[in-house]
Symmetry: none
Subunit: 404 residues, 2 copies
Amino acid sequence: MTYNRQEVLKKIISKNNTKMVLLVMDGIGDVPLNGKTPLMVANTPNLDKLAQESELGQTIPVLYGVTPGSGPAHLSLFGYDPLKYEIGRGILEALGIDVEVGEKDMVARGNFATVEGDIVVDRRAGRPATEENVRVCQIINSKIKEIKGVKVQVFPGKEHRFVVKFTGDNLSDKLSDADPQKNGLPIVFTEPTVDDEASKFTAEVVNEFLKKLKEVLKDEPKLNFGLLRGFSKYPDLPNFEEVYQVKAAAIATYPMYKGLAKLVGMNVISTGQTIEDEVRTLKEIYNDYDFFYFHVKKTDSYGEDGNFDMKVKVIEETDSIIPEILSLKPDVLVVTGDHSTPAFMKSHSWHPVPYMLYSRYTRKGLSNKFDEFECARGTLGTFYALDSMSLILAHAQRLEKYGA
Amino acid sequence: MTYNRQEVLKKIISKNNTKMVLLVMDGIGDVPLNGKTPLMVANTPNLDKLAQESELGQTIPVLYGVTPGSGPAHLSLFGYDPLKYEIGRGILEALGIDVEVGEKDMVARGNFATVEGDIVVDRRAGRPATEENVRVCQIINSKIKEIKGVKVQVFPGKEHRFVVKFTGDNLSDKLSDADPQKNGLPIVFTEPTVDDEASKFTAEVVNEFLKKLKEVLKDEPKLNFGLLRGFSKYPDLPNFEEVYQVKAAAIATYPMYKGLAKLVGMNVISTGQTIEDEVRTLKEIYNDYDFFYFHVKKTDSYGEDGNFDMKVKVIEETDSIIPEILSLKPDVLVVTGDHSTPAFMKSHSWHPVPYMLYSRYTRKGLSNKFDEFECARGTLGTFYALDSMSLILAHAQRLEKYGA
């Protein structure tokens, strides 16, 4: 597309008092097993009733046949062309644990690992308790503060995971992963993937950090080294609230999705760990925002586990909160996913994603069930997830006419 | 789209003796009220019979969620990317009342207004009889002929509307509207919206014109000033007949649609004010052209009025002329709209537009009714209106194979 959708929309976006809820059931799309998908098997009276008042369709997250990661899939749903904007995994991890990242920062995901000599014997250091992780990060931060003028900080995640942040001028993220990927292989250092001064310099800094890390942690029995992946600088994304002229809140339980929302400029709201917690949060903040990104993680988790039955259960649990969301009288409610995660594939997939849009302006009445087949034959047709935001804004009466 | 469709098509277009009719029922798409749209309610035996011989689909006029004005919507149907080609309102108005516009011209829509001192008290000068408008335009044309070397002419429209045309070298249309938009506010002069010599110069000319207008009309009781909007130069559009290698005729009753057709290079044929007049015209000129744009306005007008029942009536009236069109044995007959105008919304909307293509090469047999739901599930799927022209040409056997 030569045009930038957001640039087109900017010219016609207006504000009003409407409320829009984007309910993302992560990895919701599936493939029939014995003729039925989890959405077809699940008992979903509320979603099915909503389907009668909605328009259905199915979305392509990135391109036909392309299986998206969570980053590109969410960017699309938020209206950012995933082929234009790339987000490093390190950034996602950092934002997800509330690490501030700015223009001079370069971050990476870390694993604490156990090494014997120069051999990585356990890439996850025996999945330590998070407290262990916190303790070791404190040691590192007290002993390694700066390398070649570049400030260094580590931040504990869950279990073996951490984030390292390098802060300085002219840092590059064009670096290969410093991770042998398998146990039993020697330590790997990073290398610049492009031939420029910034990348060579940053690789030197990172490798110096790894050597110091080994020195500083040499007396630790398990967490005695670190593997680094997904080097990334902060991407320059247009601000969601400015582009769409909305106040936007994100309600999610998992770090990565909070990170994604923060990255585009949404306000990430603290919530609990269950879907019920998330609904409670939605109710509490409902008057303070007008766009709500509401993320349900476990549909994807169970899909990844190959657990068809539990995916069905999570769908039913999500179905049960629909009346609570509707009781808030949103002007637009979209129920969809970021991508498909067929249980029998145990992974993300390229399959189109079921999409349902409820508003008073829908061409409703064709469908009375929310599942992959109904969505494939819905009134919205098959469209790019990238088009979802303009559909939502249109149904919220927030788009002026284009041209005379 | 990075490719220019017309450039791709040019390479494979061939000529033959086929006839193609594009029947545009303006604003035809709707949203169900009590479960049914006007197309579903209307008794349309001929359209339904045609559906059995046709392929159905639905089109996106510009982008998902984007409500188009008549200009962009028609450009799409004619195969011109509406995000690439912008047409000013002044141009549409000018062409619609048969004002010739060329490369050295810059035009604007005018309203005759009533001012008291410098305050605009009635932006439409009491909606005068068109004769009054004609009389006042004659006065202006006799007294104001040129400003700073730029030729000036005004042309009467209906009631309070007129068009002003400035002719000269290096005129710009990057000017703000000279219109306070509300009664009771002071006169507004135009300002250049970009910082260049041409825009500054043109703004001076326009403002000098407005001052002279006030002087010339100072003794008129009502039509004693003019408000100007939609300054626009002639857009540089590829010629429809050259691009598609057809002789094209436009049959429309309303100025704007004649203007749009003329703009792309179609031959606008004089006709009467009714659908029956238009069919008669089609028959008269059928041997002289091979592409016919046939515009039915009132489906949109009644949609804009919120008059569901009369929209149904116009659909039924249009249905009744289908046998007459088919009696001419067109090789391709497309029945569609330029956009949706749901009666309950009383305005254009973003909803996809029903589309039906009849030819001997259709994958017919899936549908036996022409309405929004059948079209959403039709064999053509959901596609951009921009793709309509190549579909029409293909079914007219006018496109060679692409590549070997």
